[in-house]
Every structure is written in C-alpha cells, then in structure tokens.
Symmetry: C2
Subunit: 326 residues, 2 copies
Amino acid sequence: MNKIRIGIVGYGNLGRGVQYAAEQNEDLEVVAVFTRRDPATVEPILPVKVERMDALSDYVGKIDVMILCGGSATDLPRQSVEVVRLFNTVDSFDTHAHIPEYYDRLNAAAKEAGHVGAMSIGWDPGLFSLARIYFDSALAEGSTYTFWGKGVSQGHSDAIRRVHGVKDARQYTVPVEEALRRVRAGEEPELTTREKHTRECYVVAEESADLARIEHDIKTMPDYFADYDTTVHFISEEELLRDHAGIPHGGFVLRSGKSAAGNRFLMEFSLKLDSNPEFTSSVLVAYARAVGRLANEGKAGAFTAFDIAPKYLSPLSEEEQRRQLL
Amino acid sequence: MNKIRIGIVGYGNLGRGVQYAAEQNEDLEVVAVFTRRDPATVEPILPVKVERMDALSDYVGKIDVMILCGGSATDLPRQSVEVVRLFNTVDSFDTHAHIPEYYDRLNAAAKEAGHVGAMSIGWDPGLFSLARIYFDSALAEGSTYTFWGKGVSQGHSDAIRRVHGVKDARQYTVPVEEALRRVRAGEEPELTTREKHTRECYVVAEESADLARIEHDIKTMPDYFADYDTTVHFISEEELLRDHAGIPHGGFVLRSGKSAAGNRFLMEFSLKLDSNPEFTSSVLVAYARAVGRLANEGKAGAFTAFDIAPKYLSPLSEEEQRRQLL
C-alpha cells in the first residue's frame, strides 16, 4: 500500500494533534513539520523532521497533502492560497462570515495549480455542518439548532485576559439545558442568544485588583458577554492550572420537524470531546486521506465537507465499506 | 426551475410516505404511482395518477427518478434491476447480509442502461450508515455501537403473529439504558445481544388460547427472541388498536474512542421517529433529488449513501449551502 504522505504546516495544538492522529492511521505518514520558529527550538511530540516554513517548496513531490494548522484570523487566509499552488491542502478555516470569499480565493488558486484544497474541515465547521446539511435535506419541514459546549472558548478566554487587572482566564460556553429540553420535546422554540447558552468565566486577578470592576467589565462586554447570562468566578492561578488545564469542547446539532401527515421526527448529533484541537486534528487527517484520493482522480479546486462523498474518508475499500458499515 | 419528476413504485406505507414527503419539497413533483393492485381500488392520500405496474414503460421520458417502495425480501431484488433499465431509481434495500451481491447486480444493470440506481437509502441502512462511516473515519481508534429503538419491529411482530393462538401482536425493540450509559461513559464495553436490547411484546390471543404456552413459544423462538430478555403482555384487540397503532422507531449510533495522547471523544447520532416509514420516505425523497442531479451529470451505476456527496441532497445551491449550513 502506498501511504499518503502528509506535511504539517504550523506546529501548535492543532499541528501536534495532527501528528497524534496520523499515528493512528496506518495508511498515512507524516513526512515533515513546518514552523515559523527556529526548528532547533521545536521539540516534536513524536520523532519527525522539523523544517523552516520557507523549506516548503523543497518538498514538492515528496508530500501529497499539506495540513494547514494555522489560525483563521490571519494565517489561513494568506497561507492557504500560497500553499495550494504547490500542494494539495486541508485546512480548518472557521470564520463563518468569510467562508464564501475564502472559498472563491482558494478555488481559483487550487484550480490554477491543479490541486485540491479542502477547507473548513473539523467539527464546526465540519461534522456539525454535515449534520446540518443531512438533517435539513432528510426532513424538509422543521427547525435546526446548534448548541456548543460545555467547552472552552479560546476567543472568549482571550477577551477576558484583555480586561485590566486580569492575569489569566478560562471561559466555558454552556448550552442551556431547558432550551435543549424544549427542542427535544418538539416545541420548535424560537430561542434568543441568552436562552441558548450561558458563559462561565474562571478568572485569576492581579493582586489588589478591583474584582467588582473586573466582573462588571466582563459581564457588560459587547458581543462577547453582554447578550448572555455570565457568571464570573475568581480563582487562584494554582486552581486555574489544576482544574482548567484541558481544552474540552463539544455540542449538539438537532433538527425537529414533521411529515406532511403530522408525524414528528427528532434528529440529534452530539460530540463530547476531552480535547478540542486533538479531535479537530483527527477529522483533518481523515480529510487528508480524501484529498489524496481526489487528487489521484485528477480533481482540482476548493472542496468543503459538502463536496466530498463519505467513501473518500474511510481507510476501508468501497466493498469493505458496504459490507461492514452500510 | 425544472422540477425533478418522481414516480412511486409500490403504494404501501412507504409509497404513501414518499408522496407526503415530496409534498414538502418544492423542487420535486410526483407524476404517478404504480401498483400491483387494480388502480381503480386505490385511494391515493393526495391527488395523483395511479397506474398499473405494467404501465411503467409508458413513462420513459416523463419521469426522472423512480422511488421503489417494495419490500427487501422479494420485491426489490427483482424490481430494482428491471426498473433501472428504464429509469434512475432509489430504493431502501435493507437486508444487510445481501447488500454486496445486490450492489453488484444493480451496478451492472444500471451501468448497462446508463442510469443511476441509489440503493439502501433510509435511516438504517442510510443515515445510520453515514454516521458509522463518518465516525469511524474521523476517529481511527475506538468502538462503534448501533442501538435500535424504542420502536416497532415489523419482522418480530409478524413472527409473533405466526405463533399458534395469536390473533395480533406488536413487538417493540428497546435499547438497554445501562448499555447506553456504559458506552457514553467511555467504557467501550463488549456487549452481548442480550445486553444491548430487550424485546417487549403486546399480544392479542385468540379466545380460550393457552397464554402460558404462547408466552413460552415466543420467548424461546430462535433468532427472534431466544437471545433476548423478552416480556410478553397480553392485551385486548381494542387496546392494541388504541395504544399501539403507530409505527414509531429510532435508535442511536455511538462511537467512543481516544486520541494517541489519551484524550477521550464521544460521538453520538440519534433518531426519534413517530413514523418509521414516513421518515424513511423523507430520506428517499432527498436522495431522489441527488439521483436526478447525478444523472444530469452523466453518472451511471449503483450508488450507496457512501458514494454521494452531501451537496447533492440539499435543495440549496452550493453557494447557499456554504453560506447557510457550513
């Protein structure tokens, strides 16, 4: 069997997760990791060649699929179109509002280069998007809901850290049980932002900081917290490291609806993840397999999870898939 | 917009469900229903032309996709290969053990005719198969479980009806809560048949029948009940009609596993359906849309849910899909 040769671009939580995930898949092989740091300073979690970012072009012909593990804010919009000129790519671009323009740019660059660029892969966007499209298609009349959590939101944790007097913080997004209950009961409720999620903040304050003012600043922060029921817990740095070191996440996609005869249906997909980046990586790796196969078929352009038939993801042959999974 | 023109072959619960489901999709149109009965005796649930089975060939060029609504035991193995010579088809063939040979026969006939035949569509096989392939692919190390119910098993109800002294019966398959709890807790247990499901039977006995003997005959029936914890409730015909008239079903697909770093993940997909045939029909109709589109692209052959990219199922344009669902 020819293994699919993988490169990892960016070696943070996600990049390390890709290395872990590739280890679990016999048909995939990580050839090299590319980093902006000095490679001599990078200690890989498993043995692998560590290269400078500008060595990428030396690997043309030696790597089949590059998995881009940078951030959606600044890294991916620039990186994806550059790397796809040289390699097939997979990325986890997750800024929902910019997906259409990102798709158009990636699609143009990938088609020009004759490569496949799989974008917005992971769990949301990714597996949750798949749940939404299958659910909505399988049941034309109904209401679809996405709930996130309980899990750590990196963006909200960062927002708290920018509050004056805050030393460190961890923010959990928590789905409201009562809202989930109503959806599952088939009520098809219209839910406000506040009714769907609460926000729990664990904050380490600087010594002698004004805790009441910090709590007020967090709870009234527009976009991030003002529209939610937010609770703020002040804890010690030691407690934060001890009790909140993980990056768990998860969530629910539900669709509730009915047939034209009035019979009700409920579809539900949920994830419970001890490590958000390691699960995202595990999905990225499955799509790297798909991208390798699509490229072998001569396909080119940008692909989302919607554009890729499930058979491409599985290490099983199509016959084994029908026999074992159908 | 050119509507996709649908024909319904077989007009039982499933065929009627297809008519209901098509009604909810603006881009689909039911042109005719084909039945083995005398069309004059068939009262459609919504106005539609009712035709004899042997009028099928008159509709070549007038129907884009035939949805085959016969049974898997005898109807579909014969019908599918015949009808696919004239039309694109969708069916719900669900005899898991015979899927490989069914695929091969359908694939050969469909390729020869230049048509698309989508097979084993519904929820299991169908949406549950999709959960299995996506879950297994997204997480290489773990254990996958399928639970069915609570729901009516037609096959088991029929088996009870064949017991001497039984007038009517309804059998519910029920997942064992403790097994579900252990899977969700990440134990990855090895579960026996008995540990996964129980069977609840509601039985109307003939007058003066020997109830103890009936109960014994049911509980010891090989394949159907002997390997399960089975409970038998004797009720009146009136109670059966009043409390057990529906055909609800549902179930769960779960995958529990971990990353190479040891972090645990749980994926869960579940369905709760007031009407098993009406939900199956609703899925068939979405795949009829996909089949219409694949045929327009010039594709031919047998397709399972694994072979069809999700984008084909949705009534939205690909751009709308990315904007609204990704």
